[in-house]
Amino acid sequence: MQNWPLLTLVTFLPLVGVVAMLILRGATEDIARNARWIALWTSLVDLFIALAIWFLFDPTTADFQFVEQAAWLPQFNISYQMGIDGISLFFVVLSAFLTPICVVASWGSVKNRVREYMIAFLVLETLMIGMFCALDFVLFYMFFEGVLIPMFLIIGIWGGPRRVYAAFKFFLYTLLGSVLMLLAILAIYFQTGSTDMVEALNFDFPAHLQTWLWLAFFASFAVKVPMWPVHTWLPDAHVEAPTAGSVILAGVLLKMGGYGFLRFSLPMFPEASAMFTPLVYTLSIVAIIYTSLVALVQQDMKKLIAYSSVAHMGIVTLGVFTLTSEGIQGAMFQMLSHGVVSAALFLCVGVVYDRLHTREIARYGGLAQNMPKYAFVFMVFMLASVGLPGTAGFVGEFLTLMGAFQANTWVAFFASTGLILGAAYMLYLYRRVVFGVITRDDVRAMLDLNWREVVVFVPMLAVVMWMGIYPNTFLKPMQPTISNLIESVQSSRETGHALAGHFRDHRTVRSVAFDAAVSGRQP
């Protein structure tokens, strides 16, 4: 099976569904019904292939696996090249996991232009998965920026009242960041002579160039993550996007930034990364504390969760730049858990929004009485977002903070403060929505989860608990890649300047501490 073009298959299979949908003919309702089923089956088959890739993935090596190569623009050394390692594997699985969930979640709530909606989501799936698999810069950039088109349409067509503003803001912000990255990619091309990522990863860029390239990549990824102060597109986009749009946005698109830092910024520009680490720390801490405070006073549920996303992604960027095994594994884990948990939280908001058509927190209250199943589901995801031990959120935050403590105590201190605030705003949200006495008739009349919503939430609940109880399933395949990454960064820093020596001393100690931490948590 290793010889099959599995990555090409998993990437482009959704387009088969798109073609099938395009040739549908008949009455509007028939087209809508058929489009939903086609989208569901296509995305489920795609999920199955993604799981097969995970199953076949060799967790003992740091090399790229399932590598495929084909000539594309041979005279420029630009080729179609796909491959995954421990970092990208889970993002592929995550994208494939969330798409069918989005399809089911939009089953009844999207009523107009259903076919176009499903097409947009399947195209989006292709672009997301392709982006994580691409091993060529031009190919990567095509997927990375191509994502903007379907997302722009999803927000703009099926979004809320201010959807046009939000869609434009999302598009232009992200575009502004990524065009600078395009120039950096071209500059890399002239340094290495090809757009092959693997070659660029092993290339020593001159120090002065590293600074500029790092900044150009940073412009793109910082907007995508998003980091404070370029996060302002996110609350708007989340609030206006349809529920499934928010799920993909929070679940996968934000991860592109974190993935970019890990894949490109750290290994290719180690010296510049070291130089800018204080900047990233500062921005991350501001993001964690400031957006948590902002989340505390939000009146709109989606906006609150959007700000919490910024805070959680702040933890991710912090973890990535600690350059410790725990920090990076924590950041990776945090991205995965945030991908599931925040997606689930947006779905929770979508459930009540479908019934009452408002996201205003004050309109709700006392849902525990008439919606017990919903209250339970919401509670689990809320606690996972807070980082309760036993849920997915805990592992990521714990590991990241452990990494941060070793890198810089003050950074860790401030980051921990943010976590306390995180607990505050989430619990406050939950109290206002779920507890209390029902005062309004329309709230009293709300029905509990229907079977379709249960179908959506059950797999997500299972994954969140699994990640919390036995994180090693996920940590193990990424370990070789991450230690390889750290080693290569440190060795190039050592050759770069003498100070780098102290990184290695810490690393052995940290690995011991980490193993103890993980094994202690195993049941």
Binding site: R163, F168, V179
Partner: protein, 487 residues
């Protein structure tokens, strides 16, 4: 007495054929009267197809060799053949687009396609000119035909005004070009590109008079390619001229002017790169910025396309500013892709008709995705492509241009370029927003003429699927650009 051998004529066979075809069709049209307009139009397209083949075949057979004939006045090479193919394709597309429109507006006359053929002949000669004299003569041949085209809807005040405006300003530009040519002749002693190129081979000290001459020639060419700060006529002429003429203006003359720009700067003045590169740099930046910012507030789609085309010229000129084979390759790839994007967009604009009346407001596109999903999808593809969003063709156009800029260390130019492309994305997105996010306005007339539909479909497919197999175009452009520098 000058004697011409057949081998002297052979390189100019496409131009000779096209000129003869234009004259023959003119006679045919005069005898048959206005009712033969459509027939003449199709015959003109056929003539262009034959010319295309005549241009393409020697390129295929002989490769990119340089061939100078007519006592040094006329040059054929790979670069010329490539640009000519684009020009011919642009002209053929615009004739196809014009047929139904002219019938509906009551201006269907056989002279129209003939004028386009004559203008095209001028453009082909222009691209092949190897002397300041032949440059000027062919330049005027195409310009005069274009002035008439702009004023072709002679009962319309707007069209005649556009024609007059274009004529007055165009005459000024021709004057500049001529003045510049005479200064170059005065200070360098020759009008032949080969002699000039030889004289300036190693740069050295250059007299100020010569610099002024070169700048004046650049002004004339910048005017024709509607680059800032000589763009003022563009929005008015684009708006006033009949829409098929606007479609024609936005592709063929623009491509020809840019090809000539390349020919003149790289050819005779190639050794003086350091002198003119900064001029091109400025024109390029100004065009990109103006194209991006001035388009934001436009409400008329033809005006918007005018500013958009100004911006595109700015991007294409980045390639010239980098003064390298990579830059010329970038220009050629850019122009090829621009041809399809622009023709496709104008095909959609030509379908914007309600109760037989043409509408040109951007707001009239509102809700097009509901009333005519196919057309909306095509226009959305063109808009995203013009904004340079991958995986559409427009992205590759920009990619090769910026590749050349980075290679030539023009970092500031590249950064300004990508930033203004973000601003430009705003107004392209605005059209997508109108079509997809807004409530439908009254639908456009059906059915859409079949030939217009075909042009739209072909362009959309090319733009959408370019990424699958970009090698052919890029390889071709690469070969002819390299040959231009080697020769």
């Amino acid at each position: 007495m000058i004697q011409f051998a057949a081998s002297e004529f052979l390189p100019a066979l496409p131009e000779i054929f096209l000129a003869a075809a234009a004259l023959a069709l003119l006679i045919l049209g005069v005898f048959q009267g206005d009712k033969s307009a459509r027939e003449i139009a199709w015959l003109s397209v056929a003539a262009l197809v034959v010319t295309f083949a005549l241009v393409a075949m020697p390129l295929h057979a002989r490769g990119t060799d340089r061939l100078v004939s007519f006592y040094g006045l006329f040059i054929t090479d790979g670069f010329g053949a490539f640009s000519k193919m684009l020009v011919i394709a642009g002209s053929a597309f615009s004739i196809i687009l014009s047929m139904r429109y002219n019938e509906q507006e009551g201006i269907a006359r056989p002279e129209y396609p003939v004028l386009i053929l004559l203008a095209t002949t001028g453009m082909l000669l222009m691209i092949s000119s190897n002397d300041l004299i032949s440059l000027y003569v062919s330049f005027e041949l195409q310009s005069l035909a274009l002035y008439v085209c702009a004023a072709f809807q002679r009962d319309s005040l707007r069209s005649t005004e556009a024609g007059l405006k274009y004529f007055v300003l165009g005459a000024l530009a021709s004057g500049m070009l001529l003045y510049g040519s005479s200064m170059v002749y005065g200070f360098a002693g020759s009008t032949s590109f080969d002699t000039l190129s030889h004289a300036f081979q190693d740069g050295g000290t250059v007299s100020i008079g010569l610099i002024i001459g070169i700048v004046l020639i650049a002004v004339g060419l910048a005017f024709k390619s509607s680059a800032v700060p000589f763009h003022m006529w563009t929005p008015d002429v684009y708006e006033g001229a009949p829409t098929p003429v606007t479609a024609f203006f936005s592709v063929a003359p623009k491509i020809a002017a840019l090809a000539l720009f390349v020919r003149v700067m790289i050819g005779p003045f190639g050794g003086l790169g350091a002198e003119w590169q900064q001029v091109i740099w400025f024109i390029s930046v100004a065009s990109m910025l103006l194209g991006a910012f001035a388009a934001i507030n436009q409400t008329n789609i033809k005006r918007l396309m005018a500013y958009s085309s100004i911006g595109h010229v700015g991007y294409a000129l980045i390639g010239l500013a980098s003064n390298s084979a990579g830059g010329i390759r970038g220009i050629l790839v850019y122009l090829s892709i621009y041809l399809f994007m622009s023709v496709g967009t104008f095909a959609v604009i030509l379908c914007m008709r309600r109760q037989g009346k043409l509408v040109e407001g951007i707001a009239d596109l509102a809700g097009l995705s509901r009333t005519n999903p196919g057309m909306a999808l095509a226009l959305a593809i063109f808009m995203f492509s013009m904004a340079g969003i991958p995986p559409l063709a427009g992205f590759f156009a920009k990619l090769y241009i910026f590749l050349a800029a980075i290679d030539a260390h023009l970092y500031a130019l590249a950064i300004i370029g990508v930033l203004s492309s973000v601003v430009g994305a705003f107004y392209y997105l605005r059209i997508v927003k109108l079509m997809y996010f807004d409530e439908p306005a009254e639908p456009f007339d059906r059915p859409v003429p079949r030939e217009v539909q075909a042009v739209m479909l072909v362009s959309a497919l090319v733009v959408l699927f370019f990424f699958v197999w970009p090698t052919m175009l890029v390889d071709g452009a690469d070969a002819v650009a390299a040959a231009l520098f080697a020769g």
